[in-house]
């Protein structure tokens, strides 16, 4: 019986536990994460009784936690998917509402902007509309800013969201680690408390909502969690250890996470799913593109509106300025747009150019003008030309075959340049033309050249016509009044000086100086008229191949019979001749010739002759050997004889004489008359303003007259520059010093005698007209530091050997008597010069020479200097009542007695011999003072200075009493406007002359200049507003080098500053004229068959409504006062319809942006709905297993209760049975 009792009591125990399990289920019906528990009952092991088994009752085997691993993992994944859509849906909506909102969105602001632009275009003169346009522009700028900051707000929120998710993840992983710790106490899963496992699963589910995880369970139920795709990387829960995630501090501007940021940092694999994945997807797919596109749009908007604005003219007539600027304060350009203009009149509504019809036009032809900016060109079209004027950098251009020319380059408008022509063949020229065929520089083109040149391929306009109207013209006659020059030129230089403190003073002008290269031999004749110096046509240069020396002014003394000895260096051969016994010029000539021929080894090459009325001795060598160091020497120094002066006819000296020219007056038809009163009484003239007069003339025939005049004039002049000769029965008075000659008067004693001066022809020297004085310089130089005293040197045939010191060398050269003078220049150079202008020869020595220069003949150079001789004083500053001193000489004292300008001039000229100053009245009736010295460098000192009390006294000139030097006078000349280049520059250019039979107009050539040792240049230093085309004409090859500066003109600005007039000069022809200078820029034909003729000029496009008639004109100029012009504003309005943002209009680009965000939003919503369904199913699937249903539990309760009651009954029955048995006994 005890069995029955045991079974029943066991059962009661089991059911009691089952009931408490059910109660537990019921109690936890609302506990989150609770899994329903079930009791598992098992029958006890049966007992064997004889041959059968008998049951032993029930036992509670286990309380089982309902759990489905698959459902659980499915739910976690579904959680991750679903929650990943939440940020996408929520925040995309936010972005949508921001961008699509009427008040915050950009679209309405853009609409308002373009609407107000459109309204402004209907009345551009209205300042109200201009201001409202600016307000709407500011509206767009601030709308961009608002949008951007709204998006910034979303950025901040999503970042904070992400960081908070990360914090939650760290909390949950920490919990999991603790759970793992608890779980690790048991080694089996069955041994784990259900509550702990529930907590584990709940935490995992919560984690899956935040981020997609990969989960791995161990035998005893502990769990490892990874954020990556495998369990090897991104492990956040590793057994009992949790690894936090955190923001990567190394990346700024973005939120990136790393694993274990404060420990062993590990990059986090790409996170997907969960809130975290959702946030990141939103940021990368929606927020960042939206923000970026907004920035791009802002930039496009700013750039495009600024472009339009910059292309127009504002209310002040100025070019439009930028409307907006993008600042640098924010990383988002949309957030930093600022409006730059606050003055409505600065809005550029007007067109840049306008065209107006002439007031007297016959037709009603209407013209419109449009400007298309050409891309700024490079300075030169020919890229092989480099910016280096050195001949070594020159490019060779060759003209051969049938072609008469070769194009050199096009020079862009506005670029200043100088082109040099070197190594040219004879007759080759540089030619400079505009694209419209205006020849600016060069020489007249032949018909063949014109025919060949004028093609668009050469850069000419298709309908260009040739014109040489402006060819080589200067000043007002020149092309556009520009100073362009062809030839060789030197300008005023400036010397920078410094005061004692090293502060730079005002730069001082130095007169222009043009220096040739060394002239060794002159071979070619330069015809008369082929060259011009400062506008003065030069006579012919016929080179004399013979070496010559002219001794003039030699005179015999009274006391000594044999007054002179002689020395010379002829072809390096030193000749010294002893005392001559001759007492007359003729005898001296014969004696000198005989002696020289003997000294020359008996050859007849050396010839001595008399010239200039037998007053001068000419020595020539037909072999052309250099004659130098030639001089007569007085035997008795005290004798009153005169050795005269020597002129060596070296190549350089010939050029000098040619350039300076002589002033001369020729009397043709001169007659001396007959009778007692025959002959002339008086000759008077002025040279350089100084009066010369000869009276009591005795001569009665023309030769004697010449001789007498020459002798007297030379005495007066105290020099041998004046000669009087008879040339073809004409009496010629010539001044070789080139002083200007005036007031010539040859007065007969008695006109009745028949004496007459005849017809007088006066010709001024070149130098007196050109303001240029040519001198020759013959020198060789070497830096003192490079001298090598271990070597020797041979100069002019004289050897200098074994010289050890610089002073020794200088001494030796100066003592050698070879016509050379050695000295050390301030620049630290040893200078050896020949003052006579002869060439210096350096002998060839093996191993080089002391000066380390090449052996050879060093020809002299020619220096052309601008003479600043004149000083003009305005008549208004003169005060005739005041005293005047000039160069220390008293000219006027008070009372002056002078009442007018002429009186003052007379007074000054009276003293000119002492003062060296002469006076004239100039063209403007002002006083012109001039120095009489040949170089024009004499200072004009004006006095009187201070009186006894130290007060400055005023003078008749009304000038401050001080020294007025050449530099001051030069500055005065340069201060004049317009400056005449002839007064400041040295300009040697080409002229034209007639040659051949029949006569052909021929031009001087660069080859002629090259012979003179000068480079031919095309000088366009200040640039030209038009493109210039350069060509080389003439067969052969030539080199062109160039030096340029400046950038090509902005054609728009350049054209706007001009005013051009198109005039129809014939039914098929029109000209384009520059209104400022009257220069005809183009003269073109047009096709009369075209209904709407168009004219294109430098990017201007002029369209006529129909053909104009002859005389009609249209003026095109920059718009400066068209406040009511709306053309540019129409462009601004047109921007609304122009696809500028990647093929879309600005507004459409923005709307498309809304659209794409909208699409993403829609997509996210749909995805979210779909995932919601999946998630519901996953929840249901899990719930089916682990959920507690109260009805179920009620049933279980009843079931277990009944079983419990039955077992209790069995216990009772077993007790009764036991009692029954006890009662029996």
């Amino acid at each position: 019986m005890s069995d029955m009792l045991g079974i029943a009591s066991n059962a009661i125990g089991a059911y009691q536990r089952a009931l408490s399990t059910v109660s537990n289920n019921i109690a936890n019906v609302n506990t989150e994460g609770y899994s329903r528990q079930d009791v598992v009952l098992k029958d006890s092991a049966p007992k064997k009784l004889a041959s059968m088994y008998i049951g032993t009752g029930v036992m509670l085997q286990n309380i089982k936690r309902q759990y489905d691993e698959f459902a659980e993992s499915n739910l976690r994944n579904s959680n991750s998917d679903l929650s990943s859509q939440t940020p996408m849906v929520d925040y995309t909506k936010r972005v949508m509402d921001i961008m699509g909102d009427k008040n915050v969105g950009l679209s309405s602001a853009l609409d308002a902007f373009f609407a107000s632009a459109s309204e402004l275009s209907t009345d551009p003169a209205s300042s109200v509309l201009r201001t409202s346009f600016l307000r709407s522009a500011e509206g767009v700028a601030s709308r961009f800013g608002e949008l951007s900051s709204q998006l910034d707000l979303v950025v901040t929120e999503t970042r904070q969201g992400l960081e908070s998710v990360a914090a939650q993840i760290n909390t949950l992983t920490g919990q999991l680690a603790l759970i793992n710790q608890s779980l690790s106490r048991s080694s089996t899963l069955e041994g784990q408390p259900a509550e702990l496992l529930d907590r584990r699963d709940l935490t995992l589910r919560q984690l899956s909502e935040l981020v997609r995880t990969k989960v791995a369970f161990t035998q005893n139920g502990t769990v490892n969690v990874s954020l990556g795709a495998t369990m090897t990387e991104g492990l956040v829960v590793d057994g009992q250890k949790a690894r936090p995630i955190g923001v990567n501090a190394a990346v700024s501007g973005k939120t990136e996470f790393v694993l274990d940021p404060y420990g062993s940092t590990e990059p986090l694999p790409a996170i997907s799913g969960g809130l975290m994945g959702g946030y990141q997807a939103f940021i990368s797919q929606v927020l960042e593109p939206a923000h970026k596109n907004l920035d791009v749009l802002a930039q496009v908007f700013v750039t495009e509106t600024n472009n339009v604005q910059r292309n127009g003219i504002d209310g002040y007539g100025q070019m439009g300025q930028d409307l907006f600027a993008i600042g640098t304060t924010s990383s988002h350009s949309a957030n930093s747009i600022s409006s730059l203009i606050s003055d409505g009149l600065r809005v550029a509504t007007a067109a840049q150019f306008r065209v107006s019809e002439g007031n007297t036009n016959v037709t009603t032809t209407r013209a419109t003008v449009k400007f298309t900016d050409k891309t700024p060109a490079t300075a030169l079209s020919n890229s092989s030309l480099v910016n280096n004027s050195n001949a070594t950098a020159a490019v060779t251009f060759k003209v051969d075959g049938v072609s008469e020319y070769v194009p050199v380059t096009a020079l862009s408008a506005g670029v200043g340049a100088t082109f040099y022509l070197d190594d040219m063949a004879p007759g080759q020229q540089l030619q400079v033309m505009t694209r419209d065929g205006r020849q600016v520089l060069g020489r007249g083109l032949t018909e063949t050249e014109k025919y060949q040149l004028f093609t668009p391929l050469n850069g000419f306009e298709a309908n260009a016509n040739f014109s040489d109207q402006y060819l080589n013209k200067e000043g007002a006659l020149g092309y556009r009044g520009l100073d362009m020059f062809y030839g060789a030129k030197a300008e005023v230089l400036y010397r920078q000086s410094f005061d004692g403190n090293g502060v730079s003073l005002k730069s001082e002008p130095i007169p222009a100086l043009l220096q040739t290269n060394r002239i060794t031999s002159l071979t070619k004749t330069i015809p008369s008229g082929a060259m011009q110096l400062n506008g003065v046509s030069l006579a012919a240069l016929a080179p004399n191949p013979n070496s010559e020396a002219l001794i003039s002014g030699l005179s015999f003394g009274s006391s000594v019979a044999a007054p002179f000895s002689f020395k010379a260096l002829i072809g390096g051969q030193k000749i010294e001749l002893g005392n001559f016994s001759a007492g007359s010029m003729v005898a001296l000539r014969d004696e000198l010739q005989a002696s020289l021929r003997v000294a020359d080894g008996g050859s007849a090459d050396i010839k001595v002759s008399l010239t200039n009325n037998d007053a001068d001795i000419l020595i020539s060598d037909q072999k052309g050997r250099d004659i130098t160091n030639l001089t007569f020497i007085k035997v008795d120094v005290a004798d009153d004889s005169n050795v005269g002066s020597v002129r060596i006819q070296s190549g350089a000296n010939q050029v000098v004489n040619w350039l300076n020219g002589t002033s001369r007056v020729a009397f043709s038809g001169l007659a001396l008359g007959v009778g007692a009163n025959a002959g002339f009484d008086k000759l008077s003239f002025k040279l350089g303003g100084v009066s010369y007069a000869v009276d009591n003339i005795a001569a009665l025939d023309i030769d004697a007259l010449a001789k007498e005049l020459q002798t007297q004039l030379r005495d007066l002049d105290q020099a041998a520059d004046i000669r009087v000769i008879v040339e073809n029965q004409k009496l010629v008075i010539e001044d070789q010093a080139g002083r200007s000659m005036s007031d010539v008067n040859l007065e007969p004693k008695d006109k009745t005698s028949g004496a007459t001066a005849g017809v007088m022809a006066l010709r001024q020297s070149v130098t007196s007209q050109s303001n240029v004085l040519a001198t020759s310089v013959s020198e060789i130089r070497a830096s003192v530091s490079t001298l090598d005293f271990s070597k020797n040197i041979n100069l002019n045939g004289q050897a200098f050997n074994g010289i050890a010191t610089l002073t020794g060398l200088i001494q030796a050269i100066n003592d050698a008597d070879i016509g050379l003078m050695a000295s050390v220049h301030a620049s630290g150079e040893l200078v050896i010069e020949d003052t006579s202008g002869a060439a210096i020869s350096v002998g060839k020595l093996t191993g080089g020479n002391l000066m380390n220069i090449d052996a050879g003949v060093y020809g002299a150079q020619v220096r052309m200097t601008q003479v600043a001789r004149d000083w003009t004083i305005p008549a208004t500053s003169l005060d005739f009542s005041r005293p005047l001193d000039l160069n220390g000489q008293t000219v006027l004292t008070q009372p002056t007695g002078v009442t007018n300008l002429q009186g003052l001039i007379d007074a000054i000229n009276l003293k000119s011999e002492q003062t060296g100053v002469v006076a004239f009245i100039d063209d403007n009736n002002d006083l012109k003072l001039s120095t009489t010295d040949i170089k024009g460098t004499l200072t004009i000192s004006v006095g009187p200075g201070m009186d006894a009390d130290g007060r400055y006294l005023s003078n008749a000139l009304g000038q401050v009493p001080m020294d007025y030097d050449a530099g001051y006078r030069l500055k005065a000349v340069m201060a004049k406007t317009p400056t005449d280049p002839i007064e400041t520059d040295v300009r040697l250019t080409f002229g034209s002359y007639l040659q051949g039979d029949p006569e052909v107009l021929t031009y001087g050539t660069p080859a002629d200049l090259a012979q003179l040792g000068l480079r031919t240049g095309v000088y366009v230093e200040d640039g030209c507003p038009d493109d210039l085309l350069l060509f080389v004409t003439g067969k052969g090859s030539a080199k062109v080098a160039v030096e340029y500066n400046g950038e090509p003109d902005n054609m728009r600005d350049s054209l706007r500053s001009q005013s051009l007039t198109v005039t129809f000069t014939a039914s098929d022809r029109y000209t384009i004229t520059d209104d400022k200078t009257g220069t005809v820029l183009a003269d073109r034909y047009f096709d009369t068959n075209v209904l709407e003729p168009t004219i294109d000029f430098q990017g201007l496009h002029i369209k006529l409504s129909h053909a104009a008639s002859v005389g009609d004109s249209f003026r095109i100029d920059g718009n400066f006062d068209g406040i009511g012009n709306n053309v540019n504003m129409l462009d601004m309005v047109g921007l609304a319809k122009t696809p500028v943002a990647e093929g879309k209009t600005i507004n459409n680009a923005y709307i498309d942006q809304i659209n794409s965000v909208g699409n993403l939003s829609q997509q996210a919503l749909i995805t979210q709905e779909a995932l919601q369904v999946v998630n519901d199913q996953a929840i249901e699937a899990r719930d089916k297993v682990v959920g507690v249903n109260l009805d179920d539990e009620a049933a279980a309760l009843v079931r277990y209760q009944q079983a419990y009651q039955a077992a209790a009954k069995a216990l009772q029955v077993s007790g009764q049975l036991f009692d029954a048995i006890v009662q029996i006994s």
């Binding site: 019906v29 609409d111 609407a115 209907t122 007031n359 109260l1190």
Partner: protein, 307 residues
């Protein structure tokens, strides 16, 4: 299938919540009258609405432009019509002056009247619009179109800018008329066989001088030249008239366009009340049903029957 008690409650409250949110939205739509209250309500349609708004704004701006053009053209028309009338009077007077029966003194008074009429035309040619812009001086709107130059002759001082404004997506129309277009030149033989253009007011001045001097030949020439001037002014009137017609036509076109655009926008954006109210009733019904069923079903529990 087994549903746990918790899940049942969760789902029920969720569904009630959904129904309530639907109702709230419908209520919001009804109270605003809009189908799309916020752009995010129908993200796919937000772009379309914005585009339509933008398009309407553009068309409205064209209409505004037309208003401005209309004002200006009307002013031009008035000035030119008046000029035309004054010219008729000048013609009358000139013809009268050409009449031999008139004495020199009569001609003086005629000359005086013509001179006054000429001044009237000057002031008409210098008419200003409501904004103070000179109508006929091209883009130099702030300067009188015709004024005396240095020599005292009245010449055109404006420029020849012929401006247009946008009045439609692909339609531009004339905004102004340079004075030289209406106040035209006459072409005269200068006596040397050359044809020269003579200014409008110079021509009138010449007539005044001719009448004053009883210069019959020049009066005759003047009479014929006035015809040329009249033609010029009439052509100006015709052109302005034509432009005004364009304004009317274009205004009608724009009204149509705006109406069409607004209709489209309304279709997208505005609420269909019938649909919305039906939807609201439906949702209301569903909510009530859900509430009552929840109340009933949640009462059902086995425990109720255990005692």
């Amino acid at each position: 299938m087994k549903i746990s008690t918790t899940l049942y409650f969760d789902r029920s409250t969720q569904m009630l919540g959904n129904l309530q949110s639907n109702l709230t939205k419908t209520q919001e739509q009804l109270s605003t009258g809009l189908q799309i209250v916020k752009p995010s309500d129908e993200p796919d349609k937000a772009a379309l609405v914005t585009r339509l708004e933008s398009e309407i704004s553009k068309q409205v701006s064209y209409q505004e432009n037309l208003k401005s053009v209309n004002i200006r053209l009307t002013a031009e028309e008035t000035a030119l019509k008046n000029t035309s009338e004054v010219l008729y009077r000048i013609k009358e007077l000139s013809v009268q002056a050409a009449n031999d029966t008139l004495s020199a003194q009569d001609r003086q008074s005629v000359a005086l009247e013509i001179s006054t009429l000429r001044d009237q035309i000057v002031s008409l040619a210098n008419s200003q619009d409501a904004n103070g812009n000179y109508l006929f001086s091209g883009s130099k709107a702030t300067q009188p179109a015709f004024s005396a130059d240095a020599t005292g002759r009245i010449t055109y001082q404006g420029d020849h800018a012929r401006m247009k404004v946008n009045v439609g997506d692909s339609r531009r129309m004339n905004l102004n008329m340079p004075g030289s277009d209406a106040f035209v030149r006459v072409v005269r033989d200068d006596g040397k066989g050359n044809r020269v253009g003579v200014d409008f007011f110079q021509t009138l001045d010449d007539i005044v001088t001719a009448v004053k001097n009883s210069d019959r030949a020049n009066i005759q020439r003047g009479v014929s030249e006035i015809d040329t001037l009249q033609t010029g002014v009439s052509e100006g009137v015709a052109q302005v008239g034509a432009d005004l017609t364009v304004v009317d036509l274009q205004n009608n076109v724009l009204d149509q366009v705006v109406l069409r655009l607004k209709t489209t926008r309304s279709d997208v954006e505005d609420l269909d009340y019938t649909e919305a109210i039906t939807r609201m009733n439906k949702d209301q019904l569903a909510l009530e049903a859900a509430q009552s069923s929840f109340a009933k079903i949640s009462q059902l529990s086995l425990f109720k029957y255990l005692s």
